[in-house]
Amino acid sequence: MRIEAQGIGKKAGGHILLRGVTLDFPAGGVSVIIGPNGAGKTTLLKILGMLDKPSAGRMIYDGRPAHGLPARDKTALRRRMGFIFQHPLLLNGTVLGNMRHALSLRKRPFEAERVEEALGAVGLAGKKDLDVRVLSGGEKQRLQLARALLLEPEVLLADEPTSNLDPLSARTIEDQLAALARAGRTIILTTHNIIQARLLGSRLFFLDNGEIVQSGTPGQVLQNPATLDVAHFASITNVLNGQLVRTGEDASLEVGGAMIHVVSALAPGPVAAVLRPEDILLSREPFHSSARNVLTGRVEAVSDLGMFVLVQIRCGEMSLRAAITRSSLQELGLRPGETVVLTFKASAVLVFPVD
């Protein structure tokens, strides 16, 4: 099913939650709506799933506007979709009772085999006679997913399905979502987990303060963040607040007494800049490179994060974080208090205007 949102706005209790959101979800693929808490992700997802009504704009399903449809047709549309709530919503009773009731609400027959299969897929096969109140948060969320799997929706809407979950439950849910996507189902997912968005997403929409501020493939959005907020989400990052200075063709950022070469078309004045830790090279001595920024700093702290090592370095009034591999750390033998050379390209520094 193709879902289109045209100029969706939502007001509630005097607050504007969404403003002019226009999105197109063709059938198939995983679309990820990412954004900070309070951006309006849940509200938008509920409107997409016909669980809430927009105050402005219209929703279109397979080319037909939903507005003004008779109740019977709305129910029929909802039955083609599945929804996973951020805070699991379960029916009173047992795990099996939830599955049974879900089928009965869609007027579908109870097939024990398929119920077993769905529960097994999320690792709840042995818990089917338990009351849902004794389930852990992760189990409740997995039950929601099993219930959705059982109903075989064309479109699955999942609202931050893995937030606050143990790693195992989160992994189970991610794997099942990926499997559904491979099977040709449409998945629309909200998250504020950038790794999840990269892992699962084929399209990424960045929602901030009720507006879509950027969309594209995860790679496009994360490589070229359109705003400072998007950049914040893109990774662990260094944010530099300073003045943009222009000398002829050249632009540089004056920050804490240091001058950093940047590439920017912005007018001179106060700006914010983002520098990714993985774009900073560390060495003991300066080396010949085309990178125009070479700074000297003192190591403040070294944190091993497993996948990489984060080195905190003080350069005058600036504190920068650089990410290096564990083997580079051993080669360099960096310890707090030692001097280190930082090298990075002018184009690695992303400059944003400040309001």
Binding site: G49, A71, T75, R78, L90, L91, R106, R147
Partner: protein
């Protein structure tokens, strides 16, 4: 203290075995208050649910009105019902004054705002979650309402128990419109009131014990419902 214990002993004697008159009083109490609660709940519970589910202009005003109605003294409701059902009143033709019918009407009016407000308070979040859940699972509107009822049954039960307890223990208003007529409109509270004034403490105590047992039973049912 000895005086009280002697009264209590006499009261227990009245209860085991209970006299026919005592049974009638208890029976009428339960019938009147039960019917009144049911009558009020039929209108109040859907109103509470509606207020919990639907956003509309004037919703806050209506909730404020309900809360004000809860503070209306029972005796005022008694007065209004008395005027309504007295011979020249709007409902005078029904001949309800000094009948259980008038008592049920008055008690239902007393319970109505309480049940509606308690249903609303208990369902505020549950009703919307229930609606989202039911619709997400593909329920029709009718099945959606049934799902909320099922998910929030304890909330409905608790609101009704509170309403029942309130009207069962009501005295002044019930006396005004019922008249405390022996064998016709005498209920536990009006009987206790009368017998105490006559100095028959043992009958008052016996009925008081029954009231306590009823309150206990109702709450046991509520606890059981909560555990279910």
């Amino acid at each position: 203290m000895g005086y009280f214990l002697e009264g209590l002993r006499q009261a227990l004697k009245l209860l085991f075995p209970p006299s026919r008159e005592l049974l009638e009083i208890v029976g009428l109490s339960l019938l009147v208050s039960g019917s009144a609660t049911a009558l009020a709940a039929v209108f109040a519970a859907p109103l509470g649910l509606f207020l919990a589910l639907v956003e509309f202009r004037g919703r806050r005003f209506l909730i404020g009105l309900l809360q004000t109605a809860m503070a209306v003294p029972a005796v005022l409701i008694g007065l209004v019902v008395y005027i309504l059902v007295s011979r020249r009143g709007l409902l005078g033709f029904l001949g309800l004054l000094f009948t259980p019918g008038a008592m049920i009407l008055a008690q239902a009016l007393l319970a109505f705002p309480l049940i509606a407000a308690l249903t609303l308070a208990a369902l505020k979040d549950k009703a919307r979650d229930g609606r989202d859940l039911a619709y997400a699972l593909g329920a029709s509107r009718g099945r959606m309402l049934l799902t909320i009822l099922r998910q929030g049954r304890f909330a409905f039960l608790a609101a009704m128990v509170a309403g029942f307890s309130r009207v069962l223990g009501e005295t002044g208003m019930t006396l005004m419109v019922g008249g405390n007529i022996k064998g016709a409109t005498r209920v536990m509270t009006t009987a206790i009131s009368l017998e105490t004034m006559k100095g028959n403490f043992e009958i008052g105590l016996a009925l008081g014990l029954v009231l306590l047992v009823v309150a206990l039973l109702v709450n046991v049912v509520l606890q059981w419902g909560q555990g279910k």
